[in-house]
Amino acid sequence: MLLKTLTEASGLSGNEKEVRDIIISEIEPYCTSLKIDRLGNIIAFKEGKANSKRIMVTAHMDEVGLMVKEIDSHGLIKFLPVGGIDKRILVSKPVLIGEKKIAGVIGAKPIHLQKRNEWSNALSMDDLYIDIGAKSKEDAEKYVNIGDYIAFDSEYVEFGQGLVKAKALDNRVGCAILIDLIKNVEDVSFYAVFTVMEEVGLVGAGPAAYEVDPDLTIVLEGTLAYDIPELDSHLVPTYLGGGPAISLADRTTVYNHKLRDRVVEIAEKNNIPYQFRKTSMGGNDSGKIHTSRDGSLTTTISVPCRNIHSPVSVMSMDDYKNTFKLAKAVLYDFKEGYNGF
């Protein structure tokens, strides 16, 4: 299964090659043209019928993780974060280091040795280390180099009522949907862009948008779900199983109202469940895309993911299917030409 392959591959920001290769092998037969730009973005074009507007659909390929910064005298590895990592999720997680995927575990001081005040505070990243089973610094250096990327080691698992647990659902889920669109959408010409380094500052999207110069863009994302019963509804960013989340405003974009209303209309017309992404925290490639060159319109449609940016992200296959359906319907709607925009 494609989503399994994509989430189990390593592709931290700046090191997306493994994921990029999988995507290219999937989409190449379906694309009219395909290139990798100088930053590593995939810019593919699928020709359908001529549209009056230039349309782009994007998903970022990269995921958050860690990087080796130091190897100590015992062969333990100190690390720093790549992208937004909550230090509290790190302890006791298995990881894979570097191209050779050397196995390691994130360790910390045992509870027996912790002082009382250490119980109540999360351990800082400096207090954690990765053990790869090396005997010494020299031994560790045979397997690991400073600067190596460290990915979470987490298997794709289907469980419960159509739920999936995996790492990197943000944003392999967007990549998988975009791949499905390339395979399934006929009659509409569009650029399919898989970007790099979103998690470290929307780095790839700007240059990609500059090159493509789109009029209309759909950004596909995995976004945060935090739907616990104690929360008032306005504090729930999205609900798992609530359908594709349509963005209102985030730190990088206030989404165009007309286009947003149109996406809602299309969802309703096609009986696709949807929800609004309520929080304005976070941001995505849209921020760089809509302000590229002389400006363009964007909409972001996301699959809700619990435990985002962790090795145990959870999503619903129904949300996945409905997000695909909605994105496809919006693409077909674009074909008709957009006088209002």
Binding site: D215, D232, S233, H234, L235, L248, A249, T252, V254, Y255, N256, H257, R260, F276, K278, T279, S280, H290, T291, R293, D294, G295, S296, L297, F341
Partner: protein
């Protein structure tokens, strides 16, 4: 120079939060149409008016968007929860009236708090007098944005009203535009969108205009009220020439030209060294290969509150300085 209260009072009252600038754009369009050669609107909604001249291409930018509150949730009892569009202070908002594009009025209040220093927007709500979710939905939808309900008040010295930021900048640009009938320079007046959420409109406008020089008009802070944060800016002490803020260091050529013009023409001015905030020139000056840019600021008290206050003389002096600047033969 008489003060055109009529125009400013209209400008501050027209709905136009960031991303929803249609109405204010229409109004400004109608106001300036007869005075310019060409008007267009770009994809993000910037209004770009061109008045042709033979000299340097100058982009004059005043942002027409205003801060507001976007509805993100409506509860069973009809209370609206919201997020900020731009720099909305929970303290300034508490107890204020707001108005939606369709005229629906509401008030902002908060869940009871023992400690008001913990007041945060996610503890606050808008009450539009609806008694159920259904009733509320008849008037308001998720994603709608409301603004502070405006009450323009003036005396012989000052105006106080919400949204001087940055309708007063628009006002200065419009008044200058009307005065400059035969421009020496090639003037592009931009009434920009989405400044309050990150100088987004000015960025795309600058890209398409490709100006030689940039000047923006915006409010700045003050340091002349009891125990105010230190800032050498006061009301009624002249227009302000920006040295720096968080978004740019004004180009020395622009800054020095403005100072020289103010000295020569005896326009009262003050130098603005701002440690916070930013404005459109922050986006303009790094457009493409770079654009020498500066800012004429209007000293304003209580920015982003419902009682922003500015001096009429300072505003008129800002217009005077802008007119002189735009008529300058630039040698850069």
């Amino acid at each position: 120079m008489a003060f055109n209260s009529e125009l400013l009072s209209k400008l501050v009252k027209i709905y136009g939060p960031s991303s929803k600038e249609d109405r204010i754009r229409e109004f400004i369009s109608d106001e300036i149409r007869d005075y310019v050669d060409d008007i267009r609107v770009d994809a993000l909604g910037n209004l770009i008016a061109h008045k042709k001249g033979q000299g340097k291409k100058v982009m004059i930018s005043a942002h027409m968007d205003q801060i507001g509150m976007m509805v993100i949730d409506i509860d069973e009892n009809g209370f609206l929860r919201f997020t900020n569009i731009g720099g909305i202070s929970p303290y300034y908002s508490y107890g204020q009236q707001v108005i939606f594009e369709n005229g629906t009025v509401g008030v902002i209040f908060a869940e009871p708090l023992d400690d008001m220093s913990k007041l945060k927007l996610d503890k606050m709500y808008i009450d539009i007098g609806a008694f159920s979710k259904e009733e509320a939905l008849e008037k308001v939808s998720i994603g709608d944005i409301c603004i502070y309900k405006s009450d323009f008040v003036e005396n012989d010295k000052v105006v106080f009203t919400p949204y001087l930021d940055d309708r007063v900048g628009c006002f200065v640009a419009i008044e200058a535009l009307k005065q400059i009938k035969e421009p020496h320079n090639d003037l592009y007046y931009v009434f920009s969108v989405q400044e309050e959420v990150g100088l987004r409109g000015a960025k795309t406008a600058a890209f398409s205009i490709e100006p030689d020089l940039g000047i923006s008009l915006d409010v700045t802070g003050h340091g002349d009220t009891p125990k105010a944060r230190r800032l050498a800016i006061g009301l009624n002490k002249g227009t302000a020439i920006k040295v720096k803020d968080r978004s740019l260091i004004a180009h020395p050529y622009i800054r020095e030209t403005l100072v020289k013009l103010a000295e020569d023409k005896e326009i009262p001015y003050q130098m603005e060294v701002l440690e916070y905030g930013g404005t459109d020139s922050g986006a303009i000056h790094i457009n493409k290969e770079g654009v020498p840019s500066g800012v004429i600021s209007i000293p304003t008290r209580y920015v982003h509150s419902t009682v922003e206050m500015a001096s009429k003389e300072d505003i008129n002096n800002s217009i005077k300085l802008l007119v002189e600047f735009l008529n300058t033969e630039f040698d850069i």
